[in-house]
Amino acid sequence: MFETLRTNSRAQLVLGLFMGIAFGFLLQTGGVTDYNIIIGQLLLTDFTVVKVMLAAVLVGMPGVYLMKEWGWVTLHVRSGAIGSTVIGGLIFGIGFAVLGYCPGTVAGAVGQGALDALVGGVPGILIGTGLFAALYPVLSEKILEKGPFPADTFPELLGVNPWMVVIPVAVFILAILAGLEYLGL
């Protein structure tokens, strides 16, 4: 039903732009395009970033799984491995703390006038991705595929109906958020 739209590359450029405007609007409204808020999360003094992310998962997850059940959408997940996911994730984390923005919020920060994001953050991320492209042949041979994960998704890993995971994860997220509010964080 959506195939025509999805394969129309010109329409997708326009959709991408409008979805990006919505995304940037929501990120900025949520407060997570602000260095002070992001670094506050990493210093564990402000939990706005975790609240935005968990609320997005709480709403996004059941909708996407429902549409998957109806045959409207397909999942887009990447396989992981210790060598890529864990090592790359930790490098990313260190960069996250040094920069104080991530690749999406750095764009949002530029939009709200953060010149350190525009002049330092964006060129830095560009150089970092270029560095990865240059190192890719060596990394893919020696490191990236070391210690592959046994499955792509938790329902596959556990061999259960997806809803057996979706519902407990939703309850778990609600409990974390309730806990944060109870503690006044």
Partner: protein, 165 residues
């Protein structure tokens, strides 16, 4: 209690339904940076197109690239409407700890950006692609990646701000 982060997050959740439904894509940002670098590199040195990574990630303008451009516009509109738009070189929490020298802040941001760009492509995604889109699909790699982003980030932030104290 302040509902704003939850409403913004829920909005991002609804937006992710639409990206899957209308564009057959998850929200993600770091690939667009790699594509931009690839486009610049191949404009300067056409031979660089043959690098294996540019076979895997085509350096071209597509959906996600426009998404990142949109984020800049959307955050601009939102910050202007909220009266929060301001040209700032050094964020206040950073400045109070390390001083308000713009050159030093930009140098630190550049180094942080390099680590982040490298790490994002190494891990196959960022706080959006893994942290939101992957976790909401219950992807194993994305939950592990998101936990590592925060372990690395919290440890590094505590060390960095520990140096200021």
């Amino acid at each position: 209690m302040d509902w704003t982060p939850y409403l913004a997050g829920a909005g991002i959740g609804v937006l992710s339904w639409l990206t899957f439904l209308l564009s057959n894509k998850p929200l993600g940002c770091s690939t667009a940076f790699a594509q931009t670098f690839g486009m610049i590199e191949s404009a300067i040195r056409p031979a660089s197109r043959d690098k294996p990574y540019w076979k895997k990630v085509l350096p071209t303008i597509e959906w996600q690239w426009m998404l990142v451009v949109g984020i800049i516009i959307g955050a601009f509109i939102s910050s202007v409407l909220a009266g929060e738009f301001a040209l700032i070189w050094v964020p206040s929490v950073y400045g109070d700890a390390f001083g308000y020298d713009p050159v030093f802040r930009v140098a630190v941001a550049l180094i942080g950006g390099i680590l982040m760009g490298l790490g994002a492509r190494w891990a196959g995604g960022c706080t959006s692609g893994h942290g939101i889109s992957g976790t909401l699909q219950l992807a194993l790699a994305s939950w592990v990646a998101a936990i590592c982003f925060f372990i690395g980030g919290i440890a590094a932030a505590i060390v960095i701000y520990g140096m200021a104290a």
